[in-house]
Symmetry: C2
């Protein structure tokens, strides 16, 4: 999976340009079919276990046409995941845009993902099966999570021995909880109990963590409104 | 991977019986070569991405002879991991046998695994790549971790909103920290910082968690002495 670091983002962006002619529209449609098929397969069986031939079978297109759209499996992984994760990250940004307590921002983000994997299991399996050190995951979700953590430390709301380890502790906790939710092993309060644990890691006293983790979730009336950045 | 639940443990144990004749000794040697090869491959590339043909190539034995020893890939996964994880679990039992503080027992266990993946990266990769809900992982390490957590709750030392979620939070945290250690991303204090986060999840006040996580590790002078059970 290390080869993915070599994908040139310029060529990636170029293939996503709007299609002006009928041939180009058909081309864009095939590309979208391949991306959808890839997402479903990655979610179902993991990225490593998915072969290009399975993606073209699932998309119902010829094997060779894969290479008209993507240079390699690594490239389709990168594009398929980047779009999904970026969309999720924008929703969380919108949900937390009006919050001022760094602890509540972290709690809402964690509760969002714990609940979202139930609403959208394909995304959920994609998240938990994705190699956690994959740079798409790191960029789309990890950077935001680290920023929220650092904001909380800077404001004195959080206190941790090592921010890097605290980030890994909370991210790993989220992954395993999402996994258990997908397996149907946890009840409806899982999002709150998990957020409480995360806030404890970040240094909140247990009573404080419990109170913040149990605040009503902010309205998702405008989930597509991204935080101004 | 669901088929693994169908492996009959009786037949598994039978193939591990000591070999009395020369033919049987050779047979036992081939079986051990296949198990070693499988462990290395699982560690290097994950269980899902490893084919039986790769295991026989790596072990330098014929493809067909695999089936003289194992009924399926699932069966060799089960046996290869069970032996490794059981051995690790016994070492942790020995290290913590003389400890009375449930918090220190949990801290030592977590610190052991964070440090062990540096000493034995093959085991480390095996642990972090293994599907976390795999029943071998659950049985060998999960049951002990849940027991330690429940002991701490029963004695009043720990306080959690939901023991199931707390277990997942701490186990997921450990997996991601081990992963980062394998990637060379964390410093020498990672085991203590991680243990501190885990103890916070379990309800210890930050100062208390820091003190317990920084106690000297118990001597590993007798690492093979398992706790009497």
């Amino acid at each position: 999976m290390s080869g993915i670091r070599c994908v040139k983002l310029a060529s990636v962006t170029a293939t996503a340009r709007p299609a002006p002619t009928r041939g180009a529209r058909r081309r864009a449609q095939t590309r979208a079919q391949l991306l959808d098929a890839a997402r479903r397969l990655f979610a179902r069986q993991g990225v490593d276990a998915t072969a290009i031939a399975e993606i073209t079978d699932e998309a119902d297109v010829g094997f060779g046409s894969f290479y008209n759209h993507f240079a390699s499996k690594d490239e389709i992984v990168e594009i398929a995941l980047d779009e999904s994760l970026e969309a999720q990250a924008k929703i969380v940004d919108a949900l937390t845009a009006d919050l001022e307590d760094p602890a509540e921002i972290v709690a809402v983000a964690h509760r969002y993902f714990v609940n979202e994997v139930q609403r959208d299991p394909i995304l959920g399996w994609l998240l938990v099966r994705l190699d956690v050190s994959h740079r798409v995951m790191t960029r789309a979700l990890g950077e935001r999570a680290r920023r929220d953590l650092e904001d909380g430390v800077a404001s004195g709301r959080f206190s941790v021995a090592d921010p890097g380890v605290a980030f890994l502790d909370t991210a790993g906790a989220l992954l395993l909880v999402m996994r258990a939710v997908l397996d149907g092993e946890l009840g409806a309060e899982a999002d709150r109990c998990h957020a409480e644990g995360v806030l404890r890691v970040l240094g909140l006293a247990p009573e404080d963590a419990a109170e913040v983790a149990r605040r009503p979730l902010p309205s998702s009336a405008a989930p597509n409104r991204a935080r101004a950045s």
